[in-house]
Symmetry: C2
Subunit: 348 residues, 2 copies
């Protein structure tokens, strides 16, 4: 086998078949009886039969993160977490995943092997079955190593949505924010020399599946859980804006000092000129609960591995409807709008 | 709004929101009551409740066709047809489609509008609902205008697969082969000067949804329908090889003169040095039926719009198990292996 991906690997012929047989097919879960044929044009799957109120959740994401490998993860891990988490925050049990590669000619096969390995490992950890896939190859200079699309199917009986939010509700995050965004940005700037020997050495992306936390919250809180989201592109501030955007009766106020941000992320954001509130997370949940359920939500999160930094960071208010207000340690408030420029391109 | 896509359009902030609001959201079918929120991380959908034997079909494809616009279609139309057809040939009713764009910085917004328009029009024609989406932007020189991933969900009660094939069965195609592949290759070679004024002027991609034909065949033939496939990458010859690959008891023999190929495609393949049997189709079905059902299959296909060229092109034989034999007009046979090189990169 060659050392690098060539255009022949994407033409649909024998080389494509060999690439798929070696690297992709081992990732595809063909079902217990092997009757589901991954080489067909699609996967044939059992229809999830939940209770009468069960709904299908369907989501898609393309991943173009640069660089492909970053502290704490790589594009393979990210592309499984991203879609698993989109399902999870809808309150859905993740069931089936599709996996589509757009590979740039010249990608070292060794890199592809590592990425495929991460995909498999993360899917297995998240308990989602990769059931169908596709591989394309584009010429050198028409891509950037590899882009990955995953689409996911899950089932839920919940109806979590921003419209459920009412004034008085509490806002909670499941851990420190901004780790993924700042880790990726840092690894794009090796010339800063803080990667390996400075504060950067401690920084890892938070990239991880959050389905366990999300399902525990959904089960534990019932109707008191209003909405969950994973604050990826645009970070915490953009997600919270989306929760109340256009609302005439509700805004969100968060208390700056209560937002869990690691010292490392704070330091690196200072150096890079970033605001951690706009830095992507890839293994965190931001959620809104009824006021009386916030303590229980925190308790559930703190019991989950890595949940020690979960915190109540604010509440839903009638004061400035439709807006996100950040209350500073001095007691003043500033409006934090949605991200509008390109603070962090290609972060996921 | 700008004239071209910029990196800011992909950062997850305000510009992304405006792009999505103008171009993507109108494509998303939010359900009759509007309760399905396209801006959530995923779509919440009714679980298809078929009969007890119903199965979910799930498929994915990324489209990297070059050029983006070709005679008879564009990447938008192609990306809907490709996935709809993958569902259709599994005997599935197409239900839900996801739509993910990876856009290169600098793509004219006018091109994006045309492509989005094609996506919407084709989905509507195919009766499939686009329910969720994603948009990423990569820097100039890291993509090629636009790449599109679509994933599709359908339901089927059938179990069509190559293993169903037995010696004596008939092989049928639903129309002329090689139109898509040769149209795309021709539009990549405008210097040949045969595009607009020569034979090329008559050449159009066959790109079209085939769900109606596929469902009519499935309903009309029952168990006599063994397997269907849309012969895309690698063309008819590669698909037929896949039908019998590894079989110890069955090969396929096709009669060269019975294969419907337009004179234009034959002429252009001669000029470009291509073999039409390996040229992709994007609106054709190749199917295997029980011998006694072949006439009925042909009748069904000929009744469908554009089905006048449907033809029985060969049969399943015990002669050369695992192989595809092409019988020439001289009566000799040649083995046609799977495509192994890159005859046609980036054809879909």
């Amino acid at each position: 086998m060659d050392d690098h991906v060539t255009l022949d690997h994407g033409s649909g012929g024998g080389k494509t078949a060999r690439l798929i047989n070696e690297l992709i097919l081992p990732l595809i879960d063909q079902g217990k009886d092997g009757s589901e044929n991954a080489l067909c044009d699609g996967a044939v799957l059992d229809i999830p039969r939940g209770d009468e109120e069960g709904k299908l959740v369907f989501t898609t994401d393309s991943f173009v993160v640069d660089p492909l490998f970053f502290p704490g993860g790589d594009i393979g891990k990210l592309s499984v977490c991203g879609t698993v988490n989109d399902l999870a925050v809808m309150g859905a049990r993740p069931l089936y995943l599709s996996l589509s590669f757009i590979i740039e000619e010249g990608l070292p096969l060794e890199d592809l092997r590592r990425i495929a390995g991460s995909v498999g490992e993360t899917a297995s950890r998240a308990g989602i079955r990769i059931v169908t896939g596709d591989t394309k190859v584009v010429e050198r200079g028409r891509g950037d190593g590899i882009y990955i699309n995953t689409s996911g199917i899950g089932v839920t009986a919940l109806d979590l949505k921003p419209e459920n939010i009412v004034p008085g509700d509490c806002v909670i995050v499941s851990g420190t924010v901004g780790d993924h965004g700042s880790a990726v940005m840092l690894s794009r700037n090796p010339e800063l020399g803080i990667m390996s020997d400075g504060i950067g050495a401690q920084l890892l992306s938070d990239c991880a599946p959050v389905h366990r936390e999300a399902l525990s919250l959904a089960e534990g809180l019932g109707k008191d859980l209003r909405v969950m989201r994973d604050p990826t592109r645009g970070g915490l501030a953009t997600t919270l804006n989306e929760f109340v955007e256009g609302r005439k009766d509700a805004g969100i106020e968060i208390i700056e000092k209560d937002i869990p941000i690691s010292e490392t992320v704070n330091g690196i954001c200072d150096i890079l000129g970033l605001d951690p509130l706009y830095c992507a997370c890839e293994g965190r949940i931001v959620l809104v609960t009824a006021k009386e359920a916030a303590g229980k939500a925190l308790e559930i999160l703190k019991k989950c591995p890595g949940g020690q930094n979960a915190a109540i960071i604010g509440h839903v208010t009638e004061d400035l409807p439709g807006a996100l207000i950040v209350r500073t340690p001095l007691g003043t408030g500033r409006i934090a709008a949605k991200l509008s420029g390109s603070q962090l391109p290609r972060i996921c």
